[in-house]
């Protein structure tokens, strides 16, 4: 009966949390926004999201096969990347955009740098930026929700260069619900917030990161708009701020490991986003801000190393 006693290092019990569970929670958290995208943009959304996920998973499987590595598609992280990228695309993009984007995200940004946990940028976001730079026209032609998608502008382009909301701009309530132009998953602040609350509740992310990011943008908008509350709301419910703050600035691999570092990271994202939106050449700055802060993450991490219990440096 005692032939096979396991002798191993402590501890002898482990938590039930796994990488798969974390990734599944992110997928579940993105479901409201995904369903919203399907409702607002119909079949086109289904096609883009499907291609994006399918390409991400097959790219991961393929590159690991080629490099003779054990496959990690079962941990669901490729699905998360594919889904996030899909939700970041306009409903009007042709079929090859999500395919190229997902393949780039997985092969170049994620796997070449060592796979899960090693990518220094958020793969989905890096792919979105790459696509935007390469096919600017196709990536920035937005359509309004509905069956007969007509081309439209995003809410942020209405207020570019202004510190008030113009007459013809979308209503804030429509922006909150998602009844506006924009990429598939970023239009409805409400659905993204529901997903975010789920992640906080499940302990996958800390509420502090999105809160600091969004509050910073809100603060800048308040100052810029001379304390016009609706101008501030307009800014926080528009563009990629919600999806960026909740799902991208909270990415584990490309943000600092310490909570202090993550808060500085979020603050930096908020500042850069605001500067680009209010003073830069582009209407939107969430994507660039997160990527720029991704690059600063190792530095922030280095300078936010926790103080060891019982004093500072140990070289006594």
């Amino acid at each position: 009966m005692l032939e096979k006693l396991t002798v191993s290092s402590t501890p002898h019990i482990l938590s039930k949390n796994t990488t798969y569970k974390i990734m599944m929670h992110v997928v579940i958290a993105l479901l409201p926004a995904t369903l919203g995208a399907l409702y607002f943009f119909r079949l086109q959304a289904a096609m883009i999201i499907f291609l994006s996920i399918a390409t991400a998973v097959s790219a991961e499987w393929g590159i690991q096969k080629i490099r003779k590595q054990p496959t990690t598609i079962n941990d669901m992280s490729a699905v998360v990347t594919g889904l996030l990228l899909g939700l970041n695309l306009s409903a009007s993009v042709p079929w090859w955009i999500p395919v190229i984007g997902s393949a780039f995200a997985i092969i170049v940004v994620k796997q070449i740098f060592g796979g899960i946990g090693q990518n220094f940028m958020n793969p989905a976001l890096a792919a979105r930026i790459m696509l935007t730079i390469s096919w600017t026209g196709r990536m920035t032609s937005w359509v309004s929700p509905g069956v007969d998608a007509v081309s439209t502008a995003t809410p942020l382009s209405y207020v570019k260069g202004l510190n008030i909301i113009p007459e013809d701009a979308p209503r804030i309530l429509d922006m909150f619900l998602g009844n506006i132009g924009g990429s598939l998953g970023e239009t409805s602040a409400l659905l993204l917030i529901i997903g975010g609350l789920f992640l906080v509740f499940k302990g996958v992310i800390s509420y502090k990161i999105p809160l600091v990011f969004i509050s910073t943008v809100a603060g800048f908008a308040l100052l810029y708009g001379a304390f016009d509350l609706s101008f501030m709301l307009y800014h926080i419910f528009s563009g990629g701020l919600m999806i960026g703050a909740i799902f991208m600035a909270t990415d584990y691999s490309s943000t600092p490991i310490t909570m202090k570092g993550r808060i500085i990271f979020a603050l930096g994202c908020g500042v850069i986003t605001s500067l680009i939106r209010l003073y830069g050449a582009f209407p939107e700055g969430v994507g660039f801000s997160i990527l720029l802060m991704n690059l600063s993450a190792p530095l922030i991490e280095k300078y936010t190393r926790p103080r060891v219990f019982g004093g500072g440096k140990q070289n006594a």
Binding site: L5, T6, P11, H12, I13, T19, R305, V308
Partner: protein, 441 residues
Amino acid sequence: MKHLTFRGGIHPPYSKELTAHLETEKANDPSSVAIPISQHIGAPCNPIVKVGDRVLVGEKIGEASGFVSSPIHASVSGTVKAIKDVPSVMSGEVLSIIIESDGKNEIHPSVISNGEIETLSSKEIIEIIKEAGIVGMGGATFPTHVKLSPPPDKKINTFILNGAECEPYLTDDHRLMLEEPDDIVYGLRAMMKAINVEKAFIGIEDNKKDAIEAMIKATAEYDNIKVVTCETKYPQGSEKQLIYACVKKEVPSGKLPMDVGVVVNNVGTAAQVAKTIKTGMPLIERITTISGSAVKTPRNLLLKIGVPIKEVIEQCGGYIDDVGKIIMGGPMMGLAQHTDEVVITKGSSGIVVLNTKEAKAQQESQCIRCGTCVEQCPSFIEPLHISLYSRYNAMDLAEEYSAVDCIECGTCSFGCPAKIPLLQAIRVAKQHIIAKRRKQN
């Protein structure tokens, strides 16, 4: 009221309900015992009996070989059959004195009451504790008389009694606090007198409400002894974390509790001190929790030192299921055994037997940098970095990241979603660094 605690930590499944309600029972008398010469931190003791000698209960059979050492005593009366190596709970083998019991449990004449706290001087109390072979009974097994003899430049002002019992499964301290609260307080007062401190805390996790009540009642007449309710959180019973919870002081890195004027002892140790003073009986038995999914009837047993755990488990109905792992101590910090021929020692707070399913090693995957280990580490170090440096043999970097401040509680490995054996790697680095420093000095 918000309960006192520390920063970091985890909430593992406690599994204490298996034995928490079960009264401590006296185990069957063993037919023979094997008493190891090293059951404590410090130098092993020297056997002072020969094969063939007749020994009595409480008779000293091994003499301490230095200041940081501890004597051992016969736990049964009978004949010394052999002095030989037997499997040790600490890994490898250890020289042990094998005594065949004559079943009479005849008590040695040296076992007589030492009097009362009031009539004993502090020196006498320390001497009694030393001679009785009392060591930290929470599992650390550091000789108690050494803890009570700080260098003269260290002024001790606070005594903390550890009744946190944060290890899952274990309920021996819990039962002791319910069943012998007065002994615990008596032993505490003796140790306070020994080291001349006025103030004491007894730290207990709030999942042991009845024990807290019992201890409050037992300390009612002593204004200087305060029962502290701590949050139920692992590793609350870790010395440094308990000190922080009670007096809000951090023991400086690389230093000892005495450097912040505190001495910590386990409630089990205190109860043993009381027994030794009152009856003169040295440390020859202790309460052990026998629990886990692969034990038929989990119990709290009063066991003689030197009983093979195989016999102990038989008294608990034997094994059920496929036995995957036998742990001496709790599942977070206890040691996995390769055989059930090891014996109960002074530090055996528990025997936890897990089935093969629970014992199965989990597949490790790549770190996803979720930050859980950093967030939960009670030492505020960064386990993911240190373990990586350790595995790539970058020990100077591991040292720079304060690997030696690790208290080896296992919180990081427990919480890791990628199932990385973080602590195992950190321990390698820690040993490497300590060995290097020793060489330099």
